[in-house]
Amino acid sequence: MSDVGFNRQGVWAIYRFEMARFVRTLLQSVVTPVITTSLYFVVFGSAIGSRMSRVGGVPYGAFIVPGLIMLSILTASISNASFGIYFPKFTGTIYELLSAPISFVEMILGYVGAAATKSISLGLIILATATAFVPVEIRHPFFMVAFLLLTTITFSLFGFVIGIWAKGFEQLQLIPMLVVTPLTFLGGAFYSIDMLPPRWRTVALFNPVVYLISGFRWSFYETADVGVGVSLAMTSGFLGLLLLVVGWMFKSGYRLKK
């Protein structure tokens, strides 16, 4: 490593360490969400979906695929990244990160990069699983990948912030369980927000997850609740906000340094 250069080895070490944990816990990290999502496809896609009309010209079973992938990757991104940074705090091994010649940007690249990789893998596995239950079409693969990347990176960063903020395992679960999951369910994972009464549609537009699901669904079927440009801008804005928060956390040593 040069005296002031980028700590490539450090980023790679964190990334590999986190990915090794992912491989070690495949049953929990991949098999469980895939089974859960498959059950959604069976219940809402095949059983109930066959009795429902098309939504935006898309069969209901296929309509819910992007929303269900979003639900899984949002949860996985937050939980992977938050656990990744919280666990060293809990065990005390954080001393090694804090005493290493590694900048906060490099640390984020390692942790968030690994969390995003895990979530993307999970999203692609769920997508492949969905094709076994319902007909899926991807009209804009480039945008699909772009939304997948943007969402996993943004929510992994969100998870990283939660991991630094959390003082215990309860707090670690608090935001994913009480905030993110309800927002995803109410964010149009199972319906179009156009189906809501006008007043509730306006309320729904304050839910950031609406923009993620809408944009992601557009990349599949060209049907969206809000413009794709707005979706991209809102998600990028959330990403920018999180970068500022993480930057402040590292600069001030918030809940990391005494």
């Binding site: 490593m1 080895q9 070490a13 360490f17 804090l98 005493s99 010649p101």
Partner: protein, 321 residues
């Protein structure tokens, strides 16, 4: 020798108002073994944690091998290895994986040969595929040392490295520290075992209540602050000390059967009369006081340490009372 670490005006006051360090100035010389001693809560770990980047100082500067630890933290930390006091390890990783991780984290390219050398030196090679959760406490301590050595640091901090380890590991670690020093590594250790500092250190620093009260070469410290004692077993017991021996600070012990003379290296009696042992023996001869045998002893570093820390604590407690 040039200083490899320069600490200047270092203070740390925690959010609750507790002053853990009060304007500490210290220079660590390249290639030395420096032992930092102090009672619990004296500020040893805070000092180490600031140098290593774990705790943010309130004021003051630290320069490690020419690099400011805040402005030029990468270069500074690259040179430093730390073995913390607490046994904090990744439970589910193997020994090999965690040591390899540490090397990468510190920016070093993979070097399996070096990792193997470190593991063999610490008798961990046979355990390299074992998960850390399955190791004994002593083995975990070795793993933490292996992690700290994985990136070939030039400065090594050992915070209570032998706390809770068995005698064999303690001896192994002393040998390892000596080998590292021979290889040019500067070592700063804190310990509660004063004999460890006495055995290994070139220089000693004593910290109490956040203040560095003494920094001295070990030999000089013991010479300056250590007490020596001469004990004479008398042929005939004495009821009281004769006035002719008033120049020496003597004491009668064992029911008047022993004459005890306590002195330090530079002791000079009032009026500049020498207080050396030959003068005392001559005077005893003149007074026809015979003795069967004699023995001498020297105070240990532990006694010096206790005396220094107690001396500091007493005025404070008197003031508080």
């Amino acid at each position: 020798m040039k200083p490899v670490i320069s600490i200047s005006g270092l203070t740390k006051t925690y959010a609750g108002g507790f002053a853990a360090l009060k304007k500490v100035d210290l220079e660590i010389q390249q290639g030395e073994i420096f032992a930092l001693l102090g009672p619990n809560g004296a500020g040893k770990t805070t000092l180490i944690n600031i140098v290593c980047g774990i705790v943010t100082p309130s004021s003051g500067t630290v320069v490690a091998d020419g690099h400011d630890i805040v402005r030029d933290y990468r270069s500074a930390r690259f040179k430093i290895g730390l073995v913390p006091q607490e046994l904090t390890t990744d439970a589910f990783e193997t020994v090999w994986a965690t040591v390899t991780f540490s090397r990468g984290l510190f920016g070093r390219a993979p070097n399996p040969a070096h990792i193997e050398k470190v593991l063999r030196e610490l008798s961990l090679w046979d355990k390299r595929k074992t998960r850390i959760m399955n190791l004994s406490g002593g083995m975990k301590r070795r793993v933490m040392i292996a992690k700290a050595l994985s990136h070939e640091p030039e400065i090594l901090f050992l915070d209570e490295p032998t706390a809770g380890v068995d005698v064999e590991l303690r001896r192994d670690m002393w040998a390892l520290v000596r080998r590292l020093r021979e290889g040019g590594v500067t070592i700063i250790l804190t310990t509660h075992y004063i004999d460890e500092a006495e055995e290994m250190a070139d220089r000693i620093g004593i910290i109490s209540k956040g203040e560095l009260i003494v920094v001295e070469e070990k030999a000089k410290l013991m010479q300056k602050l250590g007490k020596r004692q001469l004990t004479l077993n008398l042929q005939e017991p004495m009821a009281a000390l004769p006035p002719a021996l008033a120049d020496w600070p003597l004491a009668l012990k064992a029911n008047g059967n022993q004459l005890q003379y306590t002195f330090d290296a530079h002791a000079v009696a009032p009026g500049d009369k020498p207080q050396d042992i030959p003068s005392l023996l001559r005077r005893l001869g003149e007074l026809q006081i015979g003795f069967k045998d004699l023995s001498t002893s020297q105070s240990s570093l532990e006694e010096i340490f206790v005396s220094l820390v107690t001396d500091r604590a007493e005025p404070a407690s008197k003031g508080a009372a």
